[in-house]
């Protein structure tokens, strides 16, 4: 097949364009498009940017905030006792305005204690250590690395914070469908069957934190509001105070898993630890030392 003048010019033109396209694309190329987009959008998703179109951009990270790449908690069950567990539960529920409802069908809990056989059902057998049988296993939301609840939420009301891995609830968006409760293998979520405010005594209210309303799901938030102020989670704080008083090592430790020198990493290096239901692949961020 002969190449006529017309065809030759066509091929030459396209080739020139092709050669020019490569450096042009390189000029615009970014190392990591997702990170680049994140930076440009200030952490908002494109749809959220559209939502706030024309408003003044807001927000700065508070300088005093505690930050980490991946927050985790280590619970040393051998150092826990009823008193510490009770103090953790009370403090958490008080500062987060979690109602105390007697009816177990309606109860709301962010942190509570379980027996070994309920915390680790697939590890249970009748001859486990007597101390473990009665030990209070403090359980809460595991802030999974791969959270099932986030995956099923139809409104993105529950989401994993990109920069530190905390799984949070946006109560403004929750429609109360309870998919997340069905998805969570740890039963860490509670549904507000009734208006929770009537179960919180007015003098017990923490005026700095909101309550919830009827029809939303709630759970532990790893004290995101305290981290923003530079404080560690409330349960970790009280348990460490109590442990100090009793002359023990801290029963609860909180820190950054990605930092090899963090306290959590040191504790995990020294002890044998386990996580709840690892076979489900949710990759929990709460570790138990037994």
């Amino acid at each position: 097949m002969s190449v006529n003048r017309r065809k030759f010019l066509k091929i030459a033109g396209v080739s020139t364009l092709g050669m020019a396209a490569k450096p042009a694309a390189n000029a615009f190329a970014v190392a990591n498009p997702i990170e680049w987009l994140d930076e440009k959008l200030g952490g908002f998703t494109p749809s959220e940017i559209l939502l706030h179109m024309g408003h003044k951009p807001a927000g700065l990270k508070a300088r005093e905030a505690l930050t980490a790449k991946r927050w985790v908690m280590v619970v040393n069950v051998r150092l826990l006792d009823e008193e510490i567990a009770e103090a953790c539960r009370e403090t958490c529920h008080k500062i987060h305005n979690v109602p105390h409802i007697e009816n177990p069908k309606h109860e709301i809990k962010w942190i509570w204690d379980e027996h070994y056989e309920h915390a680790f059902p697939n590890q249970q057998h009748e001859h486990i250590d007597d101390a473990l049988k009665e030990a209070p296993f403090l359980v809460m939301c595991n802030h999974c690395f791969n959270p099932a609840c986030v995956r099923v939420c139809p409104t993105k009301a529950t989401f994993k914070r990109k920069h530190d891995g905390i799984v949070l609830m946006d109560m403004h968006r929750c429609i109360g469908c309870r998919f997340c409760m069905a998805a969570c293998p740890f039963g860490a979520r509670s549904f507000n069957w009734k208006d929770p405010r009537q179960f919180i005594k007015e003098e017990d209210q923490n005026p700095e934190f909101p309550t919830r309303m009827k029809g939303v799901v709630e759970k532990c938030n790893f004290c995101a509001e305290r981290l923003a102020k530079g404080q560690i989670p409330a349960c970790v704080e009280v348990s460490q105070e109590l442990c100090k008083k009793k002359g023990r090592e801290p029963a609860l430790v909180f820190g950054d898993l990605e930092d090899p020198d963090s306290e959590v990493r040191q504790v995990l290096r020294r002890h044998y630890s386990a996580r709840r239901k690892p076979e489900l692949g949710t990759n929990p961020n709460v570790y138990y030392i037994m």
Binding site: L51, H55, K56, G59, L60, A65, P207, T211
Partner: protein, 135 residues
């Protein structure tokens, strides 16, 4: 027309009912709501005019910013840094410490029912001299 009298009477009565809100309030003016501005704090996060028209967008941006991207400080045009919080900044003791004398006045007047206070705790108020909860 069968039963003409009854139909016409019915139509007239119907019209009277339908137009009741128009002629009943005709010539009367309802007093514009007066919000009580804070005594101590004179500077809001944005100008008064901006807040009057855009406070809902501002609050919406604040809540997304705080809850979803963990950015909690707001830099006002004059450079002051604020904690983006309805409960801890907007209705703090020095600012709009009385929801019934600020938020509710306009919202009641315009018939707007925002659901902020279903979850957020309004500031504690001493009962005012005249009862405010008419609605």
């Amino acid at each position: 027309m069968y039963d003409g009298g009854k139909i016409i009477a019915g139509v007239i009565i119907g019209l009277i009912f339908l137009t009741f809100p128009i002629w009943f309030t005709h010539g009367k003016t309802v007093k514009r709501p007066e919000v009580k501005l804070p005594e101590k704090e004179k500077q809001c996060v944005e100008s008064g005019a901006y807040m009057k028209t855009k406070h809902m967008q501002l609050l919406d941006l604040w809540r997304d910013s705080v809850v979803r991207v963990a950015q909690r400080s707001y830099i006002a045009p004059n450079g002051t840094k604020y904690d983006m919080s309805l409960q801890n900044t907007c209705t703090s003791a020095n600012c709009h410490a009385k929801k019934t004398e600020f938020c509710d006045r306009c919202h009641d007047y315009t018939g707007v029912v925002p659901y902020c206070w279903d979850c957020h705790i309004p500031p504690k108020e001493e009962p005012t001299e005249k009862p405010e909860e008419k609605h």
